[in-house]
Symmetry: C2
């Protein structure tokens, strides 16, 4: 009797996590000689524990699966559920009973660090009890912070959004070029600065905005920041500065925390604020120039308008590759990208031990950050530029993008 | 001797203010029998006073003019310069001396309320001194608040951006649908709620997000707001609420002002905050659910990815129509749109007395706002839907949109 397949999504959404879902489902449905039913788990492993699953085949028949390819967010829903460290915990028994109930032979989990932790634990538990279910991780995160892979699906589209939006913000900021102004753009990435670094792609030429870029990898000094901004304003009238939401003093204190414990409104409610807002006020007070801060917020991870065709293609291919490898007997692995050296951009799909990936974080290499800590070097541009290439045509209706929704 | 043409841009940028510039310049250059040189003024009337002008013809020859059509922001630069009320002020004499110096016969000014005030004053001054220079206003504003015109170029693209982004934010917010959450989206429009109302277009069906929409036209009551949110959370797990940045208590106090005078950071800097952030904290404290606020900020007026083809076409056509009317002798007018009743969307281009337009604001009609003040009715949808139709192909290079920049 053929074994069934189950696939889930976990962690924060991206613009292409559904493209990876498409890759897994399409590949599995098209190997009907090898697999039984292809299930999706609703809200990840947490929903699965409550028996929330759906049959994915009807989506292919109805054409909905095609639409999933360009739908941002997590079609199957997500969760932030951490399995216990103790593999003797009763939850493992319950999970494997459920796997048996659904005759699952292949388990695919699309996610970041925490999701790979789930894959690691399930595959280790399987080994300990002699289960032959195969567990495969499919990478996704806009943060691009997974180790042992050149990059991660989701990053390319988010980077394209960040770069094009920062370019547009720079155009917008320059209309009153006879008056000095500072625009601070706050970009996602609490611990790794990859996405903030992508703002460097917005430049058309040397000396172009954004003139200053601050990553969480370098200790942030507010006094040096004020002096950097002051100097930059001598070179350019309308300065654009990009900062990571995670900029910190190097000793574990986020810059936004300098503000958050004092601001209180007229009703006595505590006002939490971001690093961009904090620096906006600081620059206004210290330099007396016009300042604005812009938080790119969730738009950077859910914009379908800035899908990178390269990113989408790789997301689909990594899902499909995971299916192929699981079928060939691999388990406890994550699909990874290996960039082939050479003139033209090319990646090989490989698998890596998921135990060596989960709970790790890949930072931007320090040698890619300029010595003064306020920019990234050419190495980063060469690394990131191929990942944002190509436009994707998103289906639309009544002038707006058309997405797939779970019934 | 043929008279020369001058065109300027003023006020905040939009996605299509340059399309209007294209319309004026292209039309004027292609009526070479009627016009001499076509000048652009740099940074509006303020730059013109300092002799900052450029010849626009080389842009057509170099192909740059084509690129201007899809470039957001103000290609010529902008200003916020208010001419004195007293037409006897010496600045008028200086301006008309400059007009004579450049042999100007036709003056086009692309902008909103304040820019129409400039057109009004200059045309009245011209009349008082017997000058035959013709002054024509070309409308633009994302706020859509100009009177005596069905709508305004810039609104359609901003509305398309708001609707598609709110739809994406709703998708993003729904991934953890087993946990209640509120997402508050703050949209531009200090006094008029047109753009905030456009978030209603994001709905696919009745009862879909955004479930609550608050415009500045209705007095905002924080207690009723909390009760609205609480009730909505009984119907939907992941609630999206859209608010105008200008929501106010009906007596002149903006909701954001309830917070801004008390928040102070650890260094004693005053922390200014927006209405969305204020309500985020309020909901968190009062309802104890997960809350996030997203400020769409300048992106809603400078995104090229969400250009509406209808909006772009009308922006170009209004520039060209202004040239035609000025040539036929009109002055002291603004180009306006008159929607022709009928099944299919159609606008006639007309001119209206600029004196009746400047310094006025068109609010969303109260009968288009639902009685409880937390939504807009079907009339608004029917009004706005035609304005966001059609995609525009923006030229790109290296994976990013390619824009025109003034040298």
């Amino acid at each position: 009797m053929k074994k069934n397949v189950i696939v889930g999504q976990s962690g924060g959404p991206t613009a292409v996590i559904n493209a990876s879902l498409y890759g897994v489902v399409y590949e599995a449905l098209n190997r009907e000689d090898s697999f039984g039913t292809v299930y999706g788990m609703i809200n990840g492993i947490e929903g699965f524990l409550n028996g929330q699953v759906m049959d994915m085949e009807p989506l292919e028949l109805s054409g909905e699966l095609e639409l999933i390819k360009t739908t941002p967010g997590s079609y199957l829903g997500s969760c932030r559920y951490k399995l216990p460290e103790d593999l003797g915990d009763e939850v493992y028994g319950r999970l494997f009973d459920k796997f048996e109930e659904y005759n699952i032979g292949y388990f695919f989990y699309i996610g970041g660090n925490d999701s790979m932790d789930t894959v690691s634990k399930l595959s280790r538990y399987a080994e300990s009890v002699g289960s032959d279910i195969r567990f495969m991780g499919i990478p996704k995160t806009i943060d691009n912070d997974l180790v042992n892979t050149d990059h991660t699906p989701g990053f390319g589209s988010a980077a394209k959004y960040v770069a094009s939006t920062v370019r547009e913000i720079a155009v917008d900021a320059s209309v009153y070029d006879n008056k000095k102004s500072v625009t601070i753009v706050e970009i996602m990435g609490r611990h790794a600065g990859w996405l903030t670094a992508a703002s460097a792609l917005a430049r058309r030429e040397e000396g172009d905005n954004p003139l200053l870029i601050y990553l969480p990898e370098t200790a942030f000094d507010t006094e040096r920041f004020i002096s950097d901004v002051s100097l930059a304003l001598e070179k350019i009238s309308n300065l654009v500065v990009c900062i990571s939401e995670g900029i910190n003093d190097g000793n574990g204190t986020f810059i936004c925390e300098l503000a958050s414990d004092v601001g209180v409104d007229t009703f006595g409610h505590k006002m939490l604020t971001g690093s961009g807002k904090y620096l906006e006020n600081l620059v206004k007070e210290r330099l007396g120039v016009k300042v604005r801060s812009v938080e790119l917020n969730v738009c950077q991870r859910c914009s379908s308008a800035m899908l990178s065709a390269t990113d989408q293609k790789e997301a689909i291919a990594s899902g499909a590759y995971g299916v192929k490898c699981a079928l060939e007997g691999e388990s406890g692995k994550m699909v990874a990208f290996c960039r082939v050296p050479g003139e033209d951009y090319w990646v090989d799909y490989v698998t890596e031990d998921v135990n060596l990936i989960c709970n790790q974080e890949k930072a931007v290499p320090s040698e890619w950050i300029t010595e003064n800590g306020s920019d990234v070097g050419r190495e980063f541009i060469e690394y990131a530029l191929p990942l944002i290439q190509g436009k994707v045509n998103v289906p639309s209706k009544d002038g707006l993008p058309l997405f797939a929704y779970r019934k």
